[in-house]
């Protein structure tokens, strides 16, 4: 498939990937994780990535975050290279696994990036309290990670990324380990936050309803080598109560995503 160029042409893109390639060299041959991926993300977009496991979603996000060096093509973030963007602390990143530091309490973990960015002690305390509340972990500030359940650890790691106010949020399956109620709650909170602050968000998920509910655009990917097979602009309004999920428009979009996903899977 030739490298197509997907993307709304809204103003200046915040993140722009052009013809991205990435190949891992492993002990038994190269793995083509990304091939000819092009995408523009505009300011204030909420873009979801969905695709079969192993298709390169994480890898794509990591390229944007300057955690992986593409073997071909270019990425720019705010017109800069990803490295410059990273240096200017342009984004917050939520990793797929919680990755909390075992020697720090939950509070200490959330405080960590704030300490690094040199934020004052009082402000740190305020922010920690606020984000802990947001992810419903108030009261767990003094616990160590291993004293928390899997889902609680995941929430702590979200709180950590929210704690410092980056303009771009890169989130890799942040809500994977959460139950539906909490998930709904956090979905709502995230939407509110996005609406209020105008952040640009790139969001990896496996849940079709979640992708549709949250995004202004949904990017469907297919595996080996990872390519973008579909980009769906959501017709839903910015204001989204939870029960928007029962509307025909919603179901219509969800259906299209599911079809795209199924096509990518091929063998199933």
């Amino acid at each position: 498939m030739p490298a197509e160029h997907h993307g709304s042409v809204s103003a200046e893109p915040v993140i722009s990937a052009q013809n991205l390639d990435l190949t891992f060299q492993t002990n038994d041959g190269p793995v083509h994780a990304l091939k000819g991926v092009s995408l523009d993300i505009g300011k204030g977009d909420f873009v979801s990535f969905i695709g079969p496991s192993g298709c390169g979603k994480t890898t794509f996000l990591r390229c944007m975050a300057d955690l992986e060096q593409p073997t071909g093509g270019t990425v720019t973030v705010n017109g800069m290279t990803p490295e410059e963007a990273r240096r200017s602390r342009a984004y917050g990143y939520v990793f797929q696994a919680a990755g909390l530091y075992p020697w720090r309490t939950i509070g200490g973990n959330i405080r960590l990036p704030l300490e690094i960015m040199g934020i004052s002690k009082a402000e740190q305390d305020a922010r920690v309290a606020r984000v802990l509340d947001l992810v419903e972990l108030s009261g767990f500030e003094k616990k160590f990670p291993w004293q928390l359940s899997g889902g609680m650890q995941q929430r702590a790691s979200i709180a950590r990324a929210l704690g410092f106010d980056a303009d771009i949020l890169l989130m890799d399956e942040p809500f994977g380990a959460l139950d539906e109620i909490v998930r709904d709650h956090l979905n709502e909170q995230l939407l509110k936050l996005w609406d209020r602050t105008g952040k640009t968000i790139a969001f990896v998920t496996h849940s079709i309803p979640e992708a549709v509910y949250l995004s202004t655009r949904i990017v469907v990917m297919s595996p080996r080598p990872g390519r973008i097979t579909d980009v769906i602009d959501s017709p839903l309004p910015r204001e989204r109560p939870l029960d928007i999920r029962e509307t025909p428009e919603f179901l219509e979009v969800a259906h299209r995503v599911r079809e795209g996903l199924r096509a990518g899977h091929g063998d199933v």
Partner: protein, 287 residues
Amino acid sequence: MRRSVVPVLTVVGFLLVLWYAAAVWLNAPWAYNKAQRAGETLSFSQVVADTWSQKKPKLPAPHQVAREVWETTAQKAVTSKRSLIYHAGVTLSATLLGFVLGTGLGILLAVGIVYNRTMDMSVMPWVIASQTIPILAIAPMIIVVLNAVGISGLLPKAMISMYLSFFPVVVGMVKGLRSPEAMQLDQMRTWHASRGQTFWKLRLPSSMPYLFTSLKIAMAASLVGAIVGELPTGAVAGLGARLLAGSYYGQTVQIWSALVMAAVLAACLVGIIGLLQRVMLRRMGMS
């Protein structure tokens, strides 16, 4: 703490029994030799009694060592040069200074190696090579040279301690500072943490298990270094001097009591590090 009393006593008891048996075994030939020359024959109990009370035995019995230790610690003023405590103190000061210097140097080098590619590629092999130089051979030269530039007293000895103790720290810390998971380093990258911040907040904490293991070894090495360093300073004072003097005059009991003292010192020092380790790991929520 209390739970370890019984096990330690058991092990020590077992070792004592072994020691007594070994004393009989090693000292018996001399006992027979003496008896033969005197034209006597010995019964087994006589042999045992003799082997446990020879003046210059191949291996002194525990109680002989214990008596010597008692006489040279409890029954001498601490300031007397016949007091083992005094000598242990002399050695201890060099050990501690050397340990501090060595640990500092070791950590510095490890940081350099982890952070500076030039150092990583060129220095490590030479750090290793430096450790294969038999310290006892160059210690006198070190002392002579340091003396020539006017450094004497505690520092030359401590330098030798440092020389022996920095190595385990380098090896352990290089490994430890490199032990954070890729994801943890990636997180630091996303926050654009400075090198210093990555060091203090990630690399150092995750190297703690390696650090403490290395510190224990370094402490033991440092003591050995201090003792080695006591020889070419003229074997004036310290446990090393006692060991040497003991061996010049064939006083095995004296050698062993100095050895025991050195071992007690080591056990205490290493024990203290173990204690620190436990406190530290508990504070870090890792125990």
